[in-house]
Amino acid sequence: MIFTVLIPLLLACFIPFISKFKHKIHTGVFVLFIPLLVFLYFIQFVGSGFEPVRHTYNWIPSLGVNFDFHLDGLSLLFALLISGIGTLVVLYSIYYLDRSEPLGHFYVYLMMFMSAMLGIVLSDNVFVLYTFWELTSISSFLLIGYWHFNERSRYGALKSMMITIFGGLSMFGGFSLLSVITGTTSIQSMIANADVILASPYMPLAMGFLLLGAFTKSAQFPFHIWLPDAMEAPTPVSAYLHSATMVKAGLYLVARFSPVFGDYEWFFIIVSMAGIVTLCWASYMAVHQTDLKAILAFSTISQLGMIMAMLGFGTKAAIFAAVFHILNHATFKGSLFMVAGTVDHETGTRDIRKLGGLLTFMPITATLALFGTFSMAGIPLPFLNGFYSKELFFESTLGLQEGMGATASFLVDIIPYLAVLGSIFTFVYSLYFLFGTFGGKTQLDKLSKKPHEAPFGMLVSPGILVLGVILIGLFPSAVNGTFIAHAAEAVYGGEVVKDVYFWHGWNAPAFQMSLVVVGLGAVLTATRTRWNGIYQVLPGRLSVNKVYDAIMARIDTYSRNITTFYMTGSLRTYMAIILSTIVVITVGFMLATGGFTIDFSNLAPVTVIELAVALVITVAAVGTIFANKNVAAVLIVGVVGYGVALLFVIYRAPDLALTQLVVETVSVALFLLCFYHLPKLKKRNESMNKKVVNAIISVGFGAMMTMIAISAHSSDWFGTISDYFIETSYSLGGGDNVVNVILVDMRGLDTLFEITVLGIAALAIYTLIKSKTRKGGK
């Protein structure tokens, strides 16, 4: 099975080579076989006796991340959709995309997507699922940006990526959390351990993470905004990714995890609420669009909302209807996208205001559109699959269980009304799409070319999909028994036997709801131009898009403002922040751990001479701050240095004293040499504020260091390792001067690299000076 999943990806590697011959033969002709093969592989599983199939291929077994492919009813439904629609889309693209386009890229992205999407629906391992999930986002990004010379394409691509990857990462968080809670990475095992998950205090968080992923991918309100902008992609892509498959990945995720969360009340509330709001809002907004693809995009959003809502209901009837509608939506919406693409291709525009009366020019296309839109609108005719699922949807809204909390009960009461409301607008935009394009008067003057019927090849794919619409409509039980039921069972957990009838009698409540929809819908369609003004009020100037744009703009400006606020380029600011942080946190720790200790018992006696030296050093050190002449400053520093050397003498460190003397002398000489070239010292002219801040920081830091030193000295738990050095200095090291023996023998490595440091410093100084003379010579 891994082969089937990865075959599109692997074969995609050859596409760039094949695409070199695109002028002789369209690359799509070769690519066509890939999805077809995959489809043929999966079709063999269809049948009433289907049992889930499982294959495992190791990837990172030690992390529990493996290609565990689990093909159950739900996966099979999706796999067939992905490969089936994939085949039709590639076929359609052969006629849609001109050979002058970079076809190689197009098909590589498309096949990459196909592999990824198959991976999502087949992976039982959450992390592999996530891997494929992000891969779909990436391929979608590339496909939307296919015509990246368009500003709108770039905008749409970025937007889709930001929103879907945001959701993807959130889902990743959810998966990680679930894997920590259950100790497994397999979805099936998580379902088996649903009680453990439900008992965890982090369950709501995990669910929230997952749903955020699902809602963004499936374009649920308010994350739906990326989908209309994704329409910048070539139409085959819109038909495939942004209507039939990728956007359903979110539905798939919710369906997959509904056995885990299904019993949790807030799962019902959030998912059905999100779904039903999306249904209503997007169908309402669809009527307002003027671009054919935009109408279809909003229509897709609203249909996704409807399915999401049903998954949220979680009843047997609802789940069956949801799964059934996933199939039905793919058929009619796929065909409608292709119709829109064909119209665009043959007339040069998708603007519905310029279109009209195309029935006479494109009768076949118009017929296909008629079936598609009527099915979408849910018109009660026995050969339209859309009607069946809409009917089942209404039925399920009525069959919600009572007896939950107040919020849930309220939802149960209002859902049927909202469902009808959303469906009315669905009806309106369906007819608006159909009549706006094919009915009414022709406006040839507004079109860039004279419309004519599309070539045969372009009609084949939508034709097959429409045939699907009709066949499913005529024989719903045929698809039901063979694979819809299996899919629904995988979601619901138990057996879902549902017979689908066309006729339930006049008294069936769902049918009455349908009648209301058709009746009111027809009225609204007829009077559309009269109530159009309502869009000035709602949404008016409100728009989620503006929120997105504002966030993106804010990210830019805020990050800039914040960063330039503290990244001033001033060393003083940097030092001040670094030093204060160190002081505050370190002192905080000292207080928190009771670190300060002082012990007077083990101290050397205080003598006058040492005190005097210390005093001189102190005065000189403070003096450096006030010195305003180069030479004076250097000499004062020299005093400190020699003072320290004196202390070394007093503290019985002759080697140190000698070294310090030599180093100090050379340093002072160097200082004088360099200072000769440096500008003169100026008086410090800091503001009082700065002086105070500087003083606080420096005194604070010095005091902190002193306190730590005193505490460290007062902590006397262990003897030092130095005794060993004294013992062995002569016997093993062969020298009397212990410090020297340590340096050259015991810690010889230090000394070697100390010399190295000096060497590097010398080279660096040399290059610094040389780089100057070079420049001078220029």
């Binding site: 894997s179 990050s559 946190i585 505490s711 902590s715 015991m746 290059t767 610094l768």
Partner: protein, 491 residues
């Protein structure tokens, strides 16, 4: 046998010295440095193979037994980092001749370069805290040499800040080592760990630990101590930026990992909790920095900060998944940062500017460069199946198991923004209309090192099964300091 452990320090040292003698004979210098770095890589691989198969190699220099002499400890963690260092270094050595002017190469670039490698390897390998200070100085001094290379106005200016801040932290380092010696009477890390454990990290010890943490945090560029970093890493030549970005900050974070898994592990409810906060703030402010600029080199430089945040987060949660994640992420970040800096340098060279507002549509001329950047973006953001992803799974699982939810959310959001910061370069710089008047420059020879680094990165993700078990064993080893202590003290 145990003498092997010092080779990754000594080979580059010798190489650096040799190359200092005839800096003007560029062909020879280039060839020799490639030979040296490759042989060092081979040696490091061999030692790594030994260590992973037969256990840590401990060298007591000058035959002075621990804890009295300086010891070199090639354990799994340090040798893995040395190996990665050499991979990065090799890529840089091959990239350097294409990017540096002859003049810069002649100013002892290769000597500084090898000294840097020597210092970095030494800092990873040493088992003595004062010796670590010395190696820090070696690598810093080499980095001073590199950062001023060429001596441009801007470079010198940023070098000043870089040198002052690092000098300050070096002095703080010496002092903190002194304090530690005052409290526990030793500077051998294993023995320090032993003694700190005996007194249960009481009294001043935690405070000294935090002081050391800050010393390393300045080098690691953690919030809020990273101010010196973005600019001074973005200004030098790309090959130098790559070395700095991949190695220098990582030495700092390595030291934190080492010291806070070996020595100061008895007050983790205090210390490591603070780390998690610092990690979160590093992610937030680092990524804000990356989003604030249109300078592509600066975008990459700022991206170092959140990455260090991710690594620190794993140390903060301090459980097995967390530590494994940190180490995985550390290795991943060394590779990807090097390749990103080289990429940014190449892009800036190809476009003639590093200002993102001034170029677009590069993909028409440099498709390969564009796709490398594209993949790097996903690698960096930890999008599967690339290397960052493996680290991220582990870090997330570790943090979730430790019930640190806030940091998980911050980490996820910053991953998104990290991706955005790189995709911004791709979308604005590479997408767009073809500019017919553009005169493409040849970038021959610059791609190969980047491809190699990226290949390692990708392998680190897809081939995680080959790597992860080793990382897991490192993490178990780090969580059980007794292993290290016993190996050193009784070995």
């Amino acid at each position: 046998m145990s003498n092997l452990a010092v080779l990754p320090i000594i080979i580059p040292l010798i190489a650096g010295i040799i190359l200092a003698f005839f800096p003007k004979r560029l062909t020879l210098v280039r060839t020799l440095s490639k030979i040296f770095i490759i042989s060092n890589l081979v040696v490091a691989s061999f030692i790594a193979w030994l260590v992973f198969n037969q256990g840590s190699i401990i060298l007591e220099t000058g035959d002075w037994a621990a804890p009295y002499g300086i010891i070199i400890v090639a354990d799994q963690l340090s040798i893995l980092l040395v190996l990665t260092t050499n991979i990065v270094a090799a890529a840089c050595a091959f990239y350097a001749p294409h990017s540096l002017t002859d003049r810069k190469e002649k100013y002892y670039f290769y000597t500084f370069f090898f000294m840097l490698i020597s210092g970095v390897s030494g800092a990873f390998l040493t088992g003595d805290i004062f010796n670590m200070f010395v190696f820090f100085e070696v690598l810093l001094m080499a980095s001073y040499g590199l950062i001023v290379l060429g001596g441009d106005k801007v470079q010198l200016r940023e070098s000043m800040k870089y040198v002052f801040i690092n000098l300050f932290s070096s002095m703080l380092f010496v002092t903190a080592v002194g304090f530690l010696y005052g409290a526990v009477g030793t500077i051998n890390m294993a023995q320090i760990a032993q003694r700190v454990q005996e007194v249960d990290q009481q009294g001043i010890l935690t405070t000294v630990g935090i002081l050391l943490f800050f010393v390393f945090a300045v080098k690691a560029a953690l919030f809020p101590l990273y101010y010196w970093m973005p600019k001074s890493y973005a200004v030098p030549n790309p090959v130098i930026s790559a070395l700095f970005g991949a190695l220098l900050t990582k030495v700092g974070i390595y030291a934190i990992i080492r010291v806070f898994s070996l020595i100061f592990v008895h007050k983790i409810e205090l210390t490591h909790e603070v780390f998690i906060w610092i990690a979160g703030l590093s992610m937030v402010f680092g990524i804000l920095g990356a989003l604030s600029t249109n300078n592509i080199k600066l975008i990459i430089a700022y991206n170092i900060i959140p990455a260090i945040g991710f690594i620190l987060m794993g140390i903060g949660v301090f459980n097995q998944d967390g530590i494994s994640g940190s180490i995985y992420y550390l290795i991943h970040d060394m590779l990807i940062k090097a390749s990103l800096f080289l990429l940014a340098g190449t892009i800036a060279y190809a476009a003639g500017t590093s200002d993102l507002r001034k170029f677009s549509g590069l993909i028409h001329y440099y498709p390969f460069l564009g796709w490398m950047l594209f993949i790097s973006g996903f690698v960096l953001a930890g999008i599967p199946p690339f290397s960052g992803f493996i680290g991220k799974i582990l870090l997330l699982r570790g943090a979730l198991a430790a019930e640190e939810i806030a940091i998980v959310i911050i980490a996820l959001l910053s991953s998104l923004l990290i991706l955005y910061s790189i995709m911004k370069i791709f979308i604005r710089g590479f997408w767009g209309e073809k500019d017919e008047s553009f005169q493409p420059k040849s970038i021959k020879g610059r791609s190969a090192p980047i491809v190699v680094l990226l290949a390692f990165s990708v392998f680190l993700g897809i081939g995680a099964e080959f790597i992860y078990p080793s990382i897991e064993s490192i993490s178990k080893y780090l969580l059980n300091p007794a292993d290290y202590i016993n190996a050193v003290m009784e070995g």
